[in-house]
Symmetry: C2
Subunit: 435 residues, 2 copies
């Protein structure tokens, strides 16, 4: 049986959503792909009792990992609580104290703060306290991590800082610690494969899976299949023992047979990665002219490192005079059919392609809301167009939801339209749920 | 004593981070501001045993609320699990069945799917199953919510769908249900105030709070104060009983005394809201010319409804020829000092301001990484500039972290620079942690 780990994420700012937690899921994923069973992530605020209850509720695990609560402020109390829970006093670790002081002073110098004041000193001292018998992990930022041995009341606890860029490298460090290695011994690698689809509704996927089990009994028995609909994309994630690889491959094949071109990434790549690869393969460049998304599409096209190889730039044509002056959309057209129209979307795509001299141009114009909607042009009506060597491919989208949702879904739909054009698939049935 | 609620968020896609959870924190916030004590959010995957364990671990609460697991696919099993836990069978609710069928057929029609097939019918039937003795809540999407009575083993359970735009309106509905109202009876409103700062390190804030308690013993006794550092902004959130309002006001005043201009929102407004208000008050407009952020700043300036009143547009000047052709940055300048330089940031800000005819122009150029860094111009070096009627205010940023972090922090820093320029505060000490 696989070893079990439990995760506790601390921080009132996480519990209340002022900061959305990246650590729990990241740790769960790291552990699960390493073959460790993660059943629960518990999120608690900065209250000792809640943190105690959370760690106790995971006593049946082989290892507990906490994130956050290691900062210099009074509401950062993870070290104290874990020490108390495991009945260990706190001692100031001199070596660690020097290490943290140096880090804080260097960082402060870079940022033009005074790193030597009393407040700083108190914070440094707080971050250098270690429970008796526990090991500390090299700080990545200024806070060290901890490995606290288990006892009759519960398993060992790995204490990690809250910032993901500190937690992630430190976890690699923690996983190598003998105490952690022992707790997680016997884990066997769990393989994962992802298939991404654009278009079909989730119910059709569910039906296809039911059908598969009827036609080929046991086809899914050795697979843990989860499906998820996000931003209009359907994601099918399969986790399995290495021995079940054939079954996983068979499922991927069955999905491709059934849904054809709607399967845009049988290898689990994101649409961003697929579009980037298609542009690079074609040696093509792209430019955007965005109204309602106001730069979010260009910004996303620049998310991947090396994007300067295909993203030339774009125009945020928010005001109509910018559509005309910077992209060359005839004022007369806007007058006649309105800014939110297929004609303007096409003119934006053509115009930015021509002015920036790119292989492809993408035009976006729509009503993001909440205001500005009319009977004829309601909130959520968006016209987009990809213009390229083979002409223009416009799409009319009707997106239901709030302003953020409309803008985000528009960006995703543009990426898929660009993907379809680049891969020579532009049939109207593959426009996806955004339509 | 305040009634206690526990929250269970279901979904392997949430547990593994393919989707980040918005529901747990949103519900926690709704409940806490209503005076309900929320100690823990438990996140579980789509495994019955884990869901059972999670709900059981909250047996000490007066109410349990679950989100997700109400979809048509086989891995959506919340209704079944909750029914079993509370020892209630499932029945098909005919009225609900008709309701869901109509909703699915309408939605499918809009999206060009066939809503009448067997797969759809099975999904519709699944979503119309209700535990004996439970009440269902009007669907917002296609899935209804449930209010399941408690028993000796635990409190009532409110079952809500996963999509936030369905869950949020449905919770308002659920809160009015007699069973829920009874469970949460005796809650007294909890007030919350937020103060936002830009600049000082978290340790200075911690020191200031310690000092306050020394100078004015008991000043913080009736307040729950949490601090959080995010995107370089310091957020101080105070929760308190209405009776403690004076203490909360005194804290806000103390923060303003101590940190002066670094307190950019004593009223808890976001920097986006502050900048929007300043632009509207001044009747000013803004345009952006972005290289490394590639439209993210313009996109963010368009986040708020009504932003067309001040955001005119911008240029995504990713490639150098776009900086020159579309914004008028002299090629000679780029030749001489390089694209990532103060001169180019200033030229971008001036150029876009002039070409788009706005009151202010913002220029951004930097090395987002991971590649492209040199000894002289390392990854994380970003030059930004706000150009306006009173001249140019350039800033040199040195941001530590990955590509996403560098780009996100740059956007936030630009918003604050814009805020400082608009409010006539541009002293070099208020550049914030990004510097």
């Amino acid at each position: 049986m696989a070893p079990r780990a439990g995760i506790v994420v601390t921080g009132t700012e996480v519990l209340t959503g002022r900061v959305s937690d990246a650590n729990g899921p990241w740790l769960a994923e790291e552990l699960r792909t390493a073959g460790v069973d993660v059943g629960r992530i518990v999120v608690v605020g900065d209250r000792p009792d809640d943190l105690v209850a959370a760690i106790r509720s995971l006593a049946d695990c082989d290892l507990v990992i906490t994130s956050g609560g290691l900062g210099p402020t009074a509401d950062d109390l993870t070290t104290q609580v874990v020490a108390d829970l495991r009945g260990r006093g706190l001692r100031l670790d001199e070596e660690l104290h020097d290490r943290v002081r140096t880090l804080v002073e260097t960082l402060s110098a870079q940022r033009g703060w005074d790193g030597t004041g009393d407040d700083m000193a108190a914070g440094i001292r707080k971050q250098a306290l270690v429970p008796e018998g526990a090991a500390w992990l090299e700080p990545v930022g200024t806070a060290p991590g901890l490995v606290v041995p288990g006892d009759a009341d519960g398993p060992p606890v790995v204490v990690l800082p809250g910032p993901p860029r500190e937690l992630q490298p430190m976890w690699a460090d923690a996983a190598r610690h003998p105490l952690v290695a022992r707790a997680l011994a016997g884990a066997t690698e769990l393989r994962q494969s992802t298939v991404r689809l654009w278009g079909p509704p989730e119910a059709e996927l569910a039906g296809m899976l039911r059908q598969l089990e009827t036609e080929r009994p046991g086809a899914l028995d050795d697979l843990e299949v989860t499906t998820c609909l996000r931003d209009g994309e359907l994601e099918v994630v399969t986790r399995h023992d290495p021995a079940a690889q054939p079954a996983a491959d068979a499922l991927t094949a069955a999905l491709t047979d059934r849904f054809g071109g709607a399967v845009f990434a049988p290898d689990g790549r994101t649409v961003d990665e697929v579009v980037a690869a298609l542009l690079l393969d074609a040696g093509a460049t792209v430019a955007t002219a965005e109204s309602c998304t106001a730069g979010l599409l260009a910004g996303r096209l620049a998310d991947l490192p090396g994007s300067s190889a295909y993203l030339t730039g774009g125009v945020v044509a928010y005001a109509n005079q910018v559509k005309t002056a910077q992209v060359g959309v005839p004022a007369e057209t806007i007058e006649r059919v309105g800014a939110v129209s297929e004609e303007v979307a096409v003119a934006l795509a053509r115009g930015v392609r021509e002015r920036l001299g790119t292989t492809y141009g993408v035009g976006v114009t729509g009503v993001a809301g909440p205001g500005g909607g009319t009977e004829e042009k309601p909130v959520g009506l968006v016209h987009v167009c990809v213009s390229g060597p083979d002409g223009d491919v416009p799409r009319r989208l009707r997106i239901h939801g709030g302003r953020d949702h409309v803008r985000r879904r528009t960006v995703v739909t543009c990426l898929h339209l660009l993907r379809e054009v680049l891969s020579g698939v532009t049939d109207a049935t593959s426009g996806g749920p955004g339509r």
